[in-house]
Symmetry: C2
Subunit: 107 residues, 2 copies
DNA sequence: CAGATCCATAACCAAATGGCTATGGTTTCG
DNA sequence: CGAAACCATAGCCATTTGGTTATGGATCTG
């Protein structure tokens, strides 16, 4: 629970990982090759970031032949949304919409 | 903007800093001395964490004699809430599109 | 005034982090 | 079949990070 929020916060702390997540959320499923091209770093570096994003459940993957397609799993943002709701009501309204979406998306 | 979100994500990536923030949000203003006692680490370590939380505007402080009182500033969470909502609207669009498709497919 | 308390900063250190190249296992293609 | 492409893992390295002790300035207190 708190451990899950920790994984998500740690995963999002790096701007390169946020950029990867943003790209997947914006443009949909992408191969490691495509992600590497956009990130401007080496393919192994991208793979390592993907491991960390997987640990936080922020991405899913699907093997197809020799390529792996990754996709964003925005439901994984729920733990940190919950965390924020715990400690303040200031931004409650701002997050209400998000909470609803996350609940609806939860399988 | 993005730089601000980066500071906030980085500040919250460490569990000790989250615990400090949680304590301030839950129990209100506290001195460095009190925070040190709760954190179970040295006073300089706490001061360094407070510097990082200050950089992210997650805490404010007030000098009173020889002690400094810190308080949580939950409004500073807004940048990451906005960041999340950026993708929530994207999801919403996708959901809307999906709903449209489903309706049109419905006999 | 003299000492004690509160806090910030500096200097240092081990561990974690984020990058790289090298390598190897699958899978596709000529 | 042999070569090329895709990706994950391993090993290496520089930098960052989170902790420590040492120190000093400012403020209370006896």
């Amino acid at each position: 629970m708190t451990a899950e929020a920790d994984n998500v916060f740690k995963a999002l702390a790096d701007p390169t990982r946020r950029a990867i997540f943003e790209g997947l959320a914006r443009d949909g499923e992408q191969t490691v090759h495509a992600l590497t091209h956009h990130a401007g770093i080496s393919q192994p570096a991208v793979s390592k970031h993907l491991v960390i994003l997987k640990r936080a459940h922020l991405v899913g993957h699907r093997r197809q032949g020799r390529e792996t397609h990754y996709r964003a799993r925005p439901q994984a943002l729920a733990p940190i949304a919950d965390w924020m709701n715990l400690y303040s009501t200031f931004w409650q309204n701002r997050l209400d919409h998000l909470e609803d979406l996350l609940k609806r998306m939860d399988p």
